[in-house]
Symmetry: C2
Subunit: 170 residues, 2 copies
């Protein structure tokens, strides 16, 4: 069909630039914490979950990541001692990633750092109305991206794919 309009081109170019710059910028701000932005997201998800644990597939859904990727990142976090793998008693196919004590500390330590980074790189640029617009527009785009219905995406409150927080172990 017709090619993109000028305003469309501008918006898309800016979005592309953001896609290119923001992730690496976020990672760089977190280097002193010893974790990547993605790893931080994982720690956060675990810390906020019941019993500090979540199944790998649940983590993958929450973070919009591949299961393959998740498995490898968890292995890496395991090597750092921040996370531990535990078999899931309710389903022996499944594996829980459990936050260790060191993991909680790492999370606590990087939490402020992460918040500061997000503020510095994103929120400080926006007023209240902008924030609303960002929220609305990103959600609109996500509906086009998400494999239909299931909006694993951290919607307004809870995550539909929220994994019935695994049976306890301890």
């Amino acid at each position: 069909m017709t090619s993109l309009s000028q305003p469309e081109r501008v918006a898309v170019a800016r979005l592309q630039a953001l896609l290119e710059l923001l992730p690496t910028a976020l990672d760089r701000q977190l280097t002193s914490a010893g974790v990547t932005a993605f790893e931080y997201t994982l720690l956060e998800a675990l810390a906020e979950s019941e019993y500090r644990r979540l199944r790998l597939s649940a983590l993958a859904a929450r973070t919009n990541a591949t299961l393959a990727r998740l498995s490898r990142v968890v292995t890496s976090l395991e090597r750092k001692g921040l996370v531990e793998r535990m078999p899931c008693p309710a389903d022996s196919r499944a594996t829980n990633a459990v936050l260790t004590a060191a993991g909680e500390q790492a999370y606590a330590h990087s939490r402020d750092l992460h918040a500061d980074a997000v503020r510095a790189l994103v929120l400080d640029a926006l007023d209240a109305a902008d924030l609303d617009d960002l929220s609305r527009v990103t959600l609109a785009m996500l509906t086009k991206l998400d494999p239909e219905g299931r909006l694993t995406v951290t919607g307004d409150r809870a995550c539909a794919a929220d994994p019935v927080p695994m049976v306890a172990l301890a």
Copy 2:
């Protein structure tokens, strides 16, 4: 300081999800064209430039990429026959990436595909007001990301870092 507010958390989570999903989704839609989204951006930049060529550093600035990355991608495009390296007569440190005939064809072929992908994944989700908001909000965030002043970022029209389109060769 205080942690993020609820609306802030929601917006950030959505933005993060977008950052995670959109690039890979765009790439997937372009696979049949045989180029990645990033490679397409390069071809586009070259095709729109005088004499179909641009210095590597100029390409890097335009695409917000590292020079190292750019060098490797150009090598890859060279192997595919879409681009050719030519020394820059005006500055013998510099190298021009020149679009080959095959490169122009590849660009022409992937152009519609790319436009379709952008429409399907981004624009179709937005009305005119949304597009405005997206444009404004992304620009605001980019100003926080960009190493100050130089907004290499494809601003409203021309790119400040636009590289005085290299002396001709032919």
